[in-house]
């Protein structure tokens, strides 16, 4: 740190940096906050100096100032900007100390240290000046603190020995773009510039694995892998562990079916013994997944899918319980149900449900729709069931597990197969979704499905002067089209440049060439236009956006097919039969019918480059880099803390702050009340009703609205969407109603059920003691004050703040 200090000082500070680092710090803070009127540099400097100890140098003080400014974000979001700027300086100095004085130098250092791949290194060296000129000097200033901190701690490449960063955030984004180049001509540079510009403006970001690995020696850039169930024998089971370990090592998330493995008590002919069922094997998988961390950057993660008729379903439901025998628990695995329609029908009709061992009914796994129903009934009639239970009893247990663990995601086998482009031929079956329930692709023993993802930042595509009154002009549609075209071009490239950790994955990807373009920041669009999440306008606009993105993505895929050829298995798709995804949804009413007609005609001659194009991923990390709300989700709170591997961060809803400032009520009272109410504005009755309505959180919105938005969007998403549902205090009754509705409206998949802890941590030390400093509240009646006081003393007894 001391070496870097000499580089970092603002010019005027260099004289006293060593003699009076405090004064130098104050000058730096003042200099970096001239356009941030709400920031008090002295306040930050004082807090930083308080944390100083004997021997603190300037660099350390600046580091403390970053944390001090970050801790003041709850006071005013402008502190986030200041913290980000200080952090950018720190990162720049660190990169420079490792020799990364320019983009081309950064790539050269990375190449020497064995991080950057030969092709990318040679490409950049060849056009060094052109590349260096591409770097947007203002780029770093677009980051908020949380985003930049995430980039620094997790994404920037580090020197293998010193562990210092060897690239700045802008170098990093340009490296990712350069890693996706085709050829090494000047034209290639121009294409790279197009993608870099989008990412530097945070208008589009590729998924984390691409950000991690593009341009490196092992460019494994796919986000997810879907594996079929191992076959019902030991060799196959152990072979899957090895495949999963290899995929996980290179930063992929795993979705895995286990529906082919015989259940507990089934006869094993080879030894004449009885099987112990799936649990012991999943336990081994659990340890294996935990043992392999993704390049040291995050722990491996996997989701196991089980069909609802599997006779081990009840033990499967207990895998994440925190009580009971540890040998039958898997704390690292995520769990999902792969539910046939027949089960939901029997739940609705309160009928019995039969459980089977796959050894007795091996055919069920590969069937869906009417074929499945028929085979299932036949197996029942043949008396093959291991046992029979009331369907509602099992359904209630599924709901209980969701409430207790958030896990046991509800995904629907028939809806997922019915409209799937890859299931045109008999025997082609989607056997599971992936780790985040947005990917739906066929798998079998020789094909591991792969998907590469990227997400458009919708918040950055709202039209200038847009209003809720004219939704057709709310978005900058032309710019959105341009973004989607560039995004699809580069997602398609990933397929060819990608490093495939297993042959099964390589096989599948070259045949189907699926990609998953998604979105983030839908909530930002609604805030910018002041549309309630559960309004008719929200549903209309969100559906329009989905339609437009699908339309443009397919147009671009047709372009690519013309240029590079259709994907190998095109002839086996529904699209080749003139059947597009929207045709499976009678309720869909497309707006841009002329373009759809043209597209159909075009596909009939050119075909498509990609079998699948759309999937809405959770975007947890990239949305935080872009500083927007996650994918299609409502905000979880107006004020919340994020814990990640890189520490803790506080975020305040900037739209709310702006609005409250305009209303003149962004004061200490409001801030305290917001924090005490866990980021809810519902109890802040000095705010206008429409403000409280707009800024409801996911906990306060009717979940029906989230499901309705997802269902309306469904025709335009050819894979699926990671749809979290939120319920502060779940009951079996509410959950069973909610998921039955989600199934009824035709959702393919749902994701986590989010709930809240039953008891909460007491306030640690909120400023001065509350009783000592009564808050003046001129706009509140005594009764209203009592209501808030009550919820503070006893948050759990008060319905209002749940």
């Amino acid at each position: 740190m001391t070496v870097a200090a000499s580089v970092t000082l603002p010019a005027q500070g260099s004289a006293d940096a060593f003699t009076d680092p405090g004064a130098a710090l104050l000058r730096l803070l003042t200099d970096r906050s001239t356009d941030l009127p709400q920031v008090d540099p002295g306040h930050v400097a004082a807090a930083a100096l308080r944390g100083r100890h004997a021997g603190s140098d300037f660099a350390e003080l600046r580091g403390l100032a970053v944390e001090a400014a970050a801790s003041m974000i709850a006071e005013d979001p402008q502190y986030s900007k200041l913290a980000a700027r200080l952090l950018a300086l720190e990162i720049r100095d660190e990169a420079v100390s490792q020799g990364a004085v320019s983009f081309s130098a950064s790539i050269a250092v990375g190449h020497t240290e064995g991080l950057i791949g030969d092709t990318t290194a040679a490409f950049v060296a060849k056009h060094a000046d052109a590349f260096d000129a591409l770097i947007d000097q203002q780029g770093d200033d677009r980051f908020e603190y949380f985003g930049l901190r995430t980039v620094q701690s997790r994404y920037l490449l580090r020197h293998p020995i010193t562990r210092k960063v060897v690239e700045t955030p802008q170098h990093f984004l340009l490296r990712v773009a350069a890693g996706l180049a085709v050829g090494d001509s000047a034209q290639s540079v121009a294409e790279v510039a197009e993608l870099y510009t989008l990412m530097s403006r945070l208008e589009y970001l590729t998924s984390s694995p691409t950000l991690f690995n593009s341009g490196t020696k092992h460019p494994q850039m796919s986000s997810c892998y879907l594996l079929d169930s191992p076959l019902d024998n030991l060799d196959s089971i152990y072979n899957r562990y090895a495949q999963i370990a290899r995929l996980s090592k290179h930063a992929g998330g795993i979705g895995l079916s286990y529906s082919r493995i015989r259940s507990r008590g089934s006869l094993i002919r080879g030894t004449n013994g009885k099987s112990n069922g799936i649990v012991p094997f999943l336990r081994t998988l659990d340890s294996s997944v935990a043992a392999v961390n993704q390049g040291g950057r995050r722990k491996g993660a996997a989701c196991v899918y089980l069909e609802t008729w599997h006779a081990d379903i009840e033990e499967f439901l207990e895998l994440r319980d925190n009580t009971g025998e540890e040998a039958r628990r898997t704390h690292n695995l995520n769990l999902a149900h792969w539910i046939p329609d027949e089960f939901m029908r029997r739940v609705n009709a309160n009928q019995d449900w039969s459980l089977f061992s796959p050894a007795d009914v091996p055919e069920l796994v590969d069937l869906w729709g009417a074929d499945f129903d028929e085979a299932y009934l036949k197996a029942e009639q043949a008396g093959k069931a291991v046992r029979t239970i009331p369907a509602q009893t099992l359904y209630a247990r599924m709901m209980r597990t969701l409430a207790q663990t958030g896990n046991g995601w509800m995904t629907f086998k028939d809806a997922s197969n019915r409209a799937a482009n890859q299931t045109a031929l008999p025997g082609r079956t989607v056997h599971s979704s992936n780790l985040c329930t947005e990917i739906l692709e066929v798998t079998d023993d020789s094909e591991t499905a792969v998907c590469n993802l990227g997400s458009v930042n919708l918040g950055a595509h709202v039209a200038a002067g847009a209003s809720a009154a004219d939704l057709m002009s709310a978005m900058d549609w032309d710019r959105l089209d341009a973004t989607v075209r560039t995004a699809v071009t580069f997602l398609d490239r990933v397929i060819d440049i990608n490093f495939y950790p297993t042959t099964e994955a390589g096989n599948s990807n070259s045949r189907w060439r699926p990609v998953g373009l998604g979105v983030m920041g839908l909530q930002d669009v609604f805030f910018q236009l002041r549309i309630d999440f559960d309004s008719a306008e929200a549903k209309t606009l969100s559906t329009l956006i989905a339609e437009r993105i699908m339309l443009t993505a397919y147009e671009r895929s047709a372009d690519l097919a013309e240029e590079f050829g259709r994907h190998e298995a095109y002839g086996e798709t529904r699209a080749a039969r003139g059947e597009l995804h929207i045709d499976h949804f009678g309720s869909a009413t497309p707006q841009w019918t002329g373009r759809w007609d043209a597209l159909r005609a075009r596909i009939a001659t050119t075909g498509l480059r990609n079998s699948l194009l759309l999937a809405i991923a959770p975007t947890a990390t990239i949305a935080s880099i872009a500083g927007v709300y996650e994918c299609i989700e409502p905000q979880v709170s107006n004020l919340f803390k994020r814990e990640t591997l890189s520490g803790e961060f506080l975020q305040v809803n900037p739209y709310l702050v702006r609005e409250l400032k305009e209303l003149g009520v962004w004061d200490q009272q409001t801030r305290d009340a917001l924090r005490d109410a866990n980021g809810s504005v519902q109890e802040l009755n000095w705010l206008p009703q429409e403000v409280r309505s707009l800024y409801r959180t996911a906990w306060e919105l009717p979940q029906r609205a989230l499901i309705d938005l997802a269902a309306a969007r469904m025709p335009y998403i050819d894979q699926s969407q990671s749809l979290n549902l939120f319920m502060a205090a779940p009951t079996i009754g509410k959950l069973s109603s909610m998921y039955a509705y989600a199934w009824k409206v035709g959702l393919k998949t749902t994701y986590y059920l989010r709930s809240r802890p039953a008891t909460r941590i007491a306030q640690a030390a909120s400023g001065t003691a509350r009783a000592a400093v009564p808050v003046p509240a001129p706009t509140m009646s005594q009764e209203e004050q009592d209501a808030i006081a009550c919820s503070l003393e006893n948050p759990e007894s008060c319905e209002a703040c749940q």
């Binding site: 807090a47 009580t323 803390k641 803790e648 030390a765």
Partner: protein
């Protein structure tokens, strides 16, 4: 209130649960069950790697901290058995205390597991467990606890006003000073590490311990509230003076501990900031007890403010600590959602 009405601190072992006299204690018991967690859920594997990265001063701090935790929860558990369970005469309150006792046991197990993981050398481990004897700054905190335990040791039943006052001081000591100040001090060091991206396993377990301790303190405070309502004359000026002095003494004891932990200070953590934090916490405890604040300090630690705000964890990274355990109801298709 008539004289024949039974009061919470009247001696005896009341068995009647219906009609329930203190339903809120029963609600607390049920809420606590919903938050069951087990040590096996805490993943400590990244902590070991982090420990290697710490500076000498930070390693010293962690060693002391874990040593304190390892014995602190045991002392609290002892007091639940020897004092609170004995004298709080309500079966529903005793349900809660039984649950609290279980939680203290889980905490002890957690810190035991942590110590075994953090200190692979058997001699270091033994030394840590002997902290109460060997380490002056921990010894002193233990002495503080023992003083208030000894004060009620000879009392078999709370016959006189004096007995009841002694008991209240014991109750308040453990709620406001031990769980509410010593532990809150220790939590601050843990969260300071976490705010720098270090020791996530420790932080995860501590998060759950913190949640439990908050509830214990809250329960004890509501016992105080109930007693105050039933026997207001117990809360005289002398009592107010004693409680304030007790908190002062606790702050000083915790500061000695801070001096031992921080030495000359570490970036972002030093004795002066810790003093300010402890004073702010002590003020809050006094205010909760309806007493005038003593210090007028504000919390200097941004990372402790964060502690109050709800979390949203990306599951790639860590297990979400927000799920409930008990869920009720039956299948239905027309509930509101």
């Amino acid at each position: 209130m008539s004289d024949d009405r039974k009061m919470l601190l009247d001696p005896g072992f009341e068995l009647t649960l219906r009609p329930m006299r203190y339903p809120s204690f029963y609600d607390r018991y049920r809420d606590a069950i919903k938050n069951t967690w087990t040590v096996e859920e805490v993943d400590l594997h990244s902590d070991v790697a982090d420990l290697a990265k710490l500076s000498e001063g930070e390693r010293h701090m962690i060693g002391r901290l874990v040593a304190f935790f390892a014995t602190g929860d045991s002392i609290v558990a002892n007091n639940v058995v020897l004092s609170l369970y004995k004298h709080i005469n309500s079966p529903e309150a005793r349900l809660y205390l039984s649950r609290q006792l279980f939680e203290e046991a889980v905490h002890v197990q957690f810190y035991l597991t942590l110590l075994d993981t953090y200190l692979p050398d058997p001699d270091d481990r033994n030394a840590a467990f002997a902290a109460v004897e060997n380490i002056p700054s921990i010894h002193q905190k233990a002495q503080f606890c023992f003083k208030y335990m000894n004060a009620v040791d000879h009392i078999d039943s709370l016959q006189t006003k004096e007995d009841r006052r002694a008991f209240l001081l014991n109750l308040i000591c453990f709620a406001a000073c031990v769980e509410g100040l010593f532990f809150y001090g220790a939590f601050a060091y843990v969260y300071w590490f976490r705010s720098r991206g270090l020791l996530h396993g420790l932080a995860t377990g501590t998060n759950w311990v913190f949640r439990d301790e908050s509830m214990h303190m809250d329960f004890a405070m509501s016992v105080v509230d109930t007693v105050r309502e039933e026997e207001p004359d117990l809360f005289d000026d002398e009592m107010a003076k004693q409680v304030t002095e007790m908190l002062e003494e606790a702050v000083e004891a915790e500061l000695q501990f801070a001096q031992d932990l921080c030495g000359d200070g570490l970036p972002g953590m030093n004795t002066a900031s810790m003093r300010q934090y402890l004073e702010a916490v002590a003020d809050q405890r006094l205010a909760r007890l309806g007493l005038p604040i003593r210090y007028g300090s504000t919390n200097p630690f941004g990372f402790m403010e964060l502690q109050n705000v709800q979390e949203l964890t990306n599951f790639f990274e860590r297990r979400v600590s927000a799920y409930q355990v008990a869920v009720e109801g039956s299948v239905s298709f027309d509930d509101d959602f």
